[in-house]
Symmetry: C2
Subunit: 357 residues, 2 copies
């Protein structure tokens, strides 16, 4: 198959188009607004499968770890072609405010240890020494190896790399499957509308996310990605160098609604003030809501739907993390090679099985 | 004098230009972005001198009341020319959360009574009967006569009325006084840069203000303008019919900074949730910060600065309220007639006096 259509211009679609075009395929990508406007445009960009996946979601963790292993090569290839993937290696600091949070950090630390990753338990005082702008935290967990990516830089780099490899962009919304030898469906939360086997299997999970900038005289953003749970709600602060901070994210089941609510903004700001008090004087430069693509379980759908039609969707919070493994899987299917480890569990065949259970 | 230059295209400049053009003058208005972008574009639009002025600011109150008396004619004239001034007569409900607030309502009620205005003290239960979406309030004060104006509709109407009367718009920032027989300086917080006598006498007072829209299934906005003090911070919720709510406003001395801060947004949303809990599910459609023009006292500067140069600035929170009296005062000076009552106290001559005190 030399002729490939990719539906969706988020991080999954762009990565897939780029990787496929590099193998000499003729690729057309369909998206009304490629490299902008979808869930990848609004993400925090943490590439942290362990702090992201709750112990128990073993299949998700395995797939995430597999993709994380592929991230350095993926970034290097983009760089070699002259495009900056926006990768940052500033690590994560997870902070606890109470004993329940602290217990959670213990479990995370054990989990990371079992995977051979470095993770350091810190007292509140040690956490504040590492990150002086923190509020009154009880304890912390420092994960120095954690990567993060500037999602907007990455999308721009992938778009440029696609153009470089002669991917053709069609800025339109796809209603019917394009006519091509192979089609990859990577339209995020909208993918459920593109194929009957995915109808009802992919759903939108709304998330609100803010961007802030330190004003003159403010403490700069934290040096690490900082995560916490404030009043039961998980939040993260991801620095984009010294000039910007991404603050996310709420999560609701709200259909295709993308309204930024008063509640979401208030809760994020309140939570962030507890974690990093200096944020109160930051400029609030962007409020937005996006739709993650949720699957029925926490795993994406990666694999054959029909003859020549592939699913690459349902990545939930993990699209940026799982872009390399997803793109590599698509290329492997097209080449008739074995897909990366961990992708079998994500096969959409499990939808079929469930129907007949 | 038949040839007039107006510097500033906010509500004061536009009102003045319109009123002067109607008397047959040739008017040129200078503003890089007329009828948009300044403090009037961001206002709540309450025309409520009594609930706005603290007892003691008698001169401000007198000028505000004089302008309020002129508002119906001002609106009627706009309507007669075919333009909708956006006037609403939904009244104000001031609510109290504690005994200090309740004491404040007593003083306001007495004050309104002394001015011959209707003002009804309500228990918390009565307030909720009048406005069922209220949170747990202790008591209230209903001021049925209070007017409010949709500031953006008004600006559009005034702009259209100016065009109708052949006002010439020059979209540029004024550095030196324009060459004209008479010049009116109405550039809000920036007016201090236009004339040496106003240098340091007019300063920016930053205010953050939000706009929200009820989402499907939400309680509609309150029927009245609702005002309250939450944790020492005054807030107001001004409905724009059933479709929008203006929530304001913070107040800081922050120079010419117009950054929307995390703190400002969080405090406004927190306060509003206490007053009107349904707002949490509203869509947050706009966050903005504007610069009110503060004077040394609470009064604006209205009157002659130099031969043929007039000040019409320093209106603080009261620009929309005081637009009619200000425009009428300018026309009176140009015609050599007596200006409206209450304007003498606002003369910039008091700056001169202070220098020699």
């Amino acid at each position: 198959m030399t002729n490939l259509a990719v539906v969706g211009g988020g991080v999954i679609g762009l990565s897939t188009a780029w990787r496929a075009a590099r193998t000499g395929r003729k690729v057309t990508l369909y998206d009304p607004e490629p490299a902008r406007g979808g869930a990848s445009w609004l993400a925090g960009g943490m590439l942290a499968p362990v702090t992201e996946a709750w112990p128990g979601e073993e299949d998700v963790l395995r797939l995430g770890e597999e993709s994380l292993r592929r991230w350095p090569d993926f970034a290097r290839d983009l760089r070699k072609e002259g495009f900056d993937p926006g990768l940052a290696e500033h690590g994560t600091l997870v902070v606890a405010f109470d004993s329940a949070d602290a217990g959670h950090l213990e479990i995370l630390a054990r989990h990371l240890g079992e995977m051979g990753r470095t993770a350091e338990r810190l007292t509140g005082r040690e956490a504040k020494r590492l990150e002086p702008g923190l509020g009154s935290v009880r304890s912390g967990l420092h994960v120095p190896g954690d990567l993060a990516v500037d999602n907007r830089k990455l999308l721009q780099a992938l778009y440029a790399a696609c153009v470089h490899h002669h991917v053709r962009f069609r800025q339109e919304r796809v209603e019917e499957l394009p006519d091509a030898e192979a089609v990859v469906l990577a339209a995020g939360a909208w993918t459920g509308q593109l194929h009957p086997r995915l109808a009802g299997a992919v759903r939108p999970l709304k998330g609100e996310i803010l961007r802030l900038k330190p004003r003159h005289g403010c403490l700069p953003p934290p040096a690490h990605t900082v995560r916490a749970v404030v009043e039961g709600r998980p939040i993260y602060l991801v620095p984009r160098g010294d000039s910007e901070l991404v603050l996310g994210a709420t999560q609701y089941e709200a259909g295709f609604d993308r309204a930024v609510t008063a509640r979401g903004v208030r809760e994020l700001l309140e939570g962030a003030e507890r974690v990093f008090p200096a944020i109160t004087e930051y400029e609030l430069t962007e409020t937005a809501a996006g739709l993650r693509a949720g699957s029925r379980d926490a795993l994406p759908y990666l694999g054959v739907l029909d003859d020549g039609v592939f699913a690459a969707t349902g990545h939930h919070r993990n699209g940026l993390l799982m872009a390399p493994v997803t793109a590599d899987a698509v290329v492997a299917w097209l080449e008739g090679e074995a897909p990366p480890a961990g992708t079998e569990a994500a096969s959409p065949a499990r939808l079929h099985l469930k129907e007949h259970e």
